[in-house]
């Protein structure tokens, strides 16, 4: 295995594009190193992205959004008061990944590129309307987060391409987001179902919304019809009932050792309404 530590994404893309064997990018390494140890993946070229300037930075962009470097660990997200105020749902999703030790290494970009449908940080990013900046041999492009995963363990990144930053849009006024997951214990487990809701208010009325579900399909999914169920409402009982039923219809889970399909469908509805209530309260500036 050849270990590379390029100092620019362009150089990293060049190395990856020119590599003939199996290539892996190294950010936090909490998935890649485990896969290497288990013998699932034996890269010929390992490209460490952490020597690239700026990959450890969280910066506010000119438009009021956020740019999060690919090597920013979970622990640094929660430590950033401004980011946590703007996007508490994104931060709480990432903070559910692994232990304190894992939080010291694991990254949003890695959680996304690992391609797990149960990745805890991804529904929050999708609901937030986050995009990824992708650098490859042909240059740079951006893609909505929900369009990156292609299925379990697979992404739509082409050969030589890598995520070079996560971009969050400006929060704006009267907005709130939240992420909830179900696990059968209190900590250190993989989501059986996850749901993120992001919304903005005009007075008491929901002006815009995005709802994302995790672990109920081959990828994390955006559910536009769930957003439509609550837009224009004050999240009254009728809206909540519609949201619950739409979220359940959108869930197309498998049955496995962590939960049956029927159970996951039921929980998708429950989490959608609870996450919506938290996001709504946060948008109103209330504690939730």
């Amino acid at each position: 295995m050849r270990y590379h530590s390029p100092t620019s994404f362009t150089d990293a893309a060049g190395i990856a594009a020119g590599a003939s064997g199996l290539t892996r990018f190294l950010a936090g390494g909490t998935d890649v190193l485990v896969q290497m140890r288990a013998g699932m993946v034996q890269p010929d070229d390992l490209i460490d992205l952490k020597k690239i300037p700026g990959v450890g930075d969280i910066t506010r962009t000119d438009d009021g959004g956020w740019r999060i470097g690919v090597a920013v660990p979970g622990i640094a997200l929660g430590a950033n008061a401004g980011l946590k105020t703007d996007w508490p749902g994104v931060v709480e999703g990432m903070e559910l990944v692994g232990s304190t030790q894992i939080q010291g290494r694991a990254t949003l970009a890695g959680n996304l590129c690992n391609g797990s449908p149960a990745a805890d940080s991804v529904p929050g990013l999708v609901a937030a309307g986050a995009t990824v900046e992708i650098t490859g041999p042909e240059g740079t492009r951006t893609l909505p987060v929900e369009e990156l995963p292609a299925g379990p363990g697979k992404t739509h990144l082409a050969k030589g391409e890598m995520v070079s930053a996560i971009l969050l849009p400006p929060r704006g006024q009267h907005g709130g987001d939240a992420y909830l997951r179900f696990i059968p214990r209190t900590e250190m487990d993989i989501a059986v179902v996850g749901c993120a809701v992001n919304l903005t208010l005009d007075g008491d009325t929901i002006k815009s919304a995005r709802v994302a579900l995790g672990a109920v399909a081959p990828t994390v999914i955006l559910v536009p019809e769930a957003a439509e169920a609550i837009i224009g409402t004050t999240l009254d009982d009728a809206a909540i009932a519609k949201l619950e039923s739409v979220a359940k219809s959108a869930a197309k889970p498998i049955s496995d050792k962590r939960g049956t399909s029927e159970f996951r469908v039921e929980i998708a509805g429950v989490l959608a309404k609870r996450a919506a209530r938290i996001a709504y309260a946060r948008a109103k500036g209330e504690q939730a």
């Binding site: 290497m36 140890r37 460490d48 622990i75 232990s99 304190t100 894992i102 010291g104 290494r105």
Partner: protein, 160 residues
Amino acid sequence: MSKIHVTTTINGDPVEFLADPRETLLDCLRDKVGLTGSKEGCGTGDCGACSVELDGTLVCSCLVLGVEADGKSVSTIEGMASDNDLHPLQRKFIEHAALQCGFCTPGILVAAKKLLEVNPDPTEEETRYWLAGNLCRCTGYDKIVRAVMDAAAEMRQEVA
């Protein structure tokens, strides 16, 4: 396979070693530097027995490559006591008998030390969540948590 020359700082001392890029920091600490206090339990980041600080961040050294330590500083269990004086956590672990086989103990001490740096007055719940990535199969955790809480009280100069 060409090895990579790594220059790093471990427990305040400059250290150099040659690492195969596939070797973890844990392997390098144990096999090249001779610091065998950090243990390999699972090798996949689940058990925390290999916990160290890398540039002040608590990590599993089994999920860090040795070559990634180049230019960084590493703190291990061997750096916890100063000269002949045990760290208050180490003393409290002995007083409370917060270990049985002892395999998880170095990792738990390193993790607990970091907890008390960022939160000198943790609740029992905060302590248990912080240490959720450190598995112990002997004690049932109760004595560990009590020892950490007692050490925290002593370090705040209170009587628990």
